[in-house]
Amino acid sequence: MRWLLVKDLQILRRSPLQAGVLVVYPIAIALMIGFALSSPPGRPTVAIYSGIPTSKVIHLGSTRVDVGSLAEQLFTSVRPLREPSPEAAIAQVRDGHALAALIIPDDLTSEIESLVTSGTGTPTVQVVLNGSNPLERQFAEQALQSRIAQAEQALSKLVLKVALGDLQVVLGGGSVNLLNRQIPLLGLQRSRTILGAQIATHPGDAALRRALGQVVNFANLAIDGLTFAGPVLGSIGTPVTVQQTVVAGRSTPTDSYAVAIAAVVSLMFVALLLAAGLLALEGSEHAYPRLVRGLVAPEALLAEKILLASACAAAVTLVMAAIVSSFVSLDWGRFELWVVSIALAGLAFGSLGVALGGLAREVAGASLLAFLCSLPVAFVALVPSTSVSGGVEDVLKVVSFVFPFKAGLDAVSNAFSGTPTGIVLPLLHLVVLTVVYAAGARLALRRFAAA
């Protein structure tokens, strides 16, 4: 087997075009991914209709709320297209000029006021997304979602603040705004003091004293309870401050997932094409019968091709990952897992490659078959299963299970960034696929010999 390896390496060295393409291709992919991820992310174009003027301010009790600036918060992460009506905004989405429409209704301020004063309002902003492209939709959704969450938080803080203010008045006395009228309130603490004085002025009336004593006790209890409740509510009103840190060279899991996709695509191309091509070459050169006449066992021949193809593919892929890691932060601490997952995925692809090479039996056919096989498999594995209907989803699931791409992607993306789904299962899956395809290739070799 050693001499076969040497022979194949010599042949590769003397096929500079093919070998070159197999090395340059993944590196080119790596650079493309790197540049794409390191350039600043584009802001999605969003059509916006706002029914409230930007300077609108409402007063909730003693609090002054700048609703206009609250709405403006929503615009900071998008490229806004101002529209004169909700219909116009939706039309922009339908015509493809905007990825999404954000509609802020005229009644937003009154709904907020009503929510704060009577607890019944439902302030609503409407987001309209273009459903035709799931990737773009996700992009727009992500850009808007965090802003909407911020606005929501700001609003709920406001509501709590007003409620706390009212509570303070109930305890200490003052005035509350009810239906735009200032209503003076005595306050529990002062009420108790007045009651205490009243009890003192009626020493003889035991029945009255007992009754008033019960009211005072209740007031004490309520004062204690509400005094305690104040800070608790206040702490809810200022939930944990979210500290945002932006690191140079963005490092979201999405990025390392994209790198994992690029890595597995390169791995697939190199391993599949090499394994298929090298095995088919033994057929093209009519060398196979000469080899298996007691010189080399067919199994050893297959093992040699699989090992060579997966080793070359893994080496190229690791180089690629190293290059990309200067653009995107990958977890170098898990480097052993990178090697293991890339090696096992390479073996699975190599194994599939020799099966294809065994079927095709000559180099051009094998390369074509490997190429035709890899593109749809990669594509199918990348289609989010939520974006297709039931029957198609089942087909995609089967294809993803039967070919090594999905398992390879799961393993490699876990190795790069430690996804919560775990790495053991995909690795096992890859081992099983390797064995199954190698067995298939062994069967295909029977036809090889007869040719």
Partner: protein
């Protein structure tokens, strides 16, 4: 026992592809140093027979016994060489795969025997068809086999190269090796074989010396009512004509 003395003894060899019998019940025994030519029209089963003897195809039935338990040397009909490797690299690869004691010596010996010494470093793909065939033959001879199988070895060679190859083959047989070869050029069978085996549609139609074949043809013609063209008496004018008449008389 004559059978035990034979260098190669073949009994009832048969090979089917599906329902088609490519070789049917072929049997012969060869002495050391004997040269056997296998002749027959295209599709007669020559390659199938040689492939079974080479151990590439498993016979459907029959037996192959060899005096020396060593694989035969095999030169396949389709050149089995790596065109991206040089002549020497091809020979060295197979010498190593054959686990020869001294691969480099075997390579040097074969380069000398086939006259390829000055082409040793050239890529096989860049050689002429004749020289590629010489490499193909050289690989078959590497392990110094006791029985040598050649499938249409001269098909791609020019007359001078053919003469050189037959010289080499005769020399190998002179050293005591059995040589079996198939050929289209029946005159080569007559000149360079001790015996010929005629195959037609997988059937063994004849086994004997070229002279015996000509005698059989003459016997075929004698009772015939129609006088053949050419010389009115005696065997057919040349071996090729005799061979064609032999096949025609048996419906091939």
């Amino acid at each position: 026992m004559t059978v035990a003395a034979a260098a190669l003894d073949v009994v009832g060899l048969t090979r089917c592809f599906g329902s088609r019998m490519a070789v049917r019940d072929v049997g012969f025994a060869l002495e050391r140093g004997e040269k056997l030519a296998i002749i027959g029209p295209n599709g007669a089963g020559k390659t199938t027979l040689l492939s079974m003897l080479a151990g590439v195809l498993v016979p459907t039935s029959g037996a192959i016994n060899r005096a020396v338990e060593r694989p035969c040397g095999w030169v396949p009909q389709q050149q089995a060489v790596y065109s991206k490797l040089s002549v020497a690299e091809n020979l060295r690869l197979f010498a190593r795969l054959e686990r020869l004691a001294d691969p480099d010596a075997a390579v040097a010996r074969m380069l000398a025997q086939t006259g390829l010494e000055d082409r040793a470093q050239e890529q096989v793909g860049r050689l002429s068809g004749g020289n590629q065939q010489r490499v193909n033959v050289a690989i078959g001879l590497l392990a110094d086999p006791a029985v040598l199988l050649l499938d249409e070895p001269t098909a791609s060679l020019d007359p001078r190269q053919r003469a050189r190859l037959w010289e080499l083959i005769s020399a190998l047989a002179g050293e005591g090796r059995c040589v079996l070869y198939s050929t289209h050029a029946v005159t080569e069978a007559e000149r360079y074989a001790d015996r010929v085996l005629v195959l037609g549609d997988g059937e063994q139609l004849f086994l004997g010396t070229p002279t015996e074949l000509e005698e059989v043809v003459a016997g075929d013609l004698a009772p015939s009512a129609i006088a053949p063209p050419g010389p009115s008496d005696g065997p057919a004018g040349d071996f090729e004509t005799a061979f064609v008449q032999f096949l025609r008389a048996r419906g091939h």
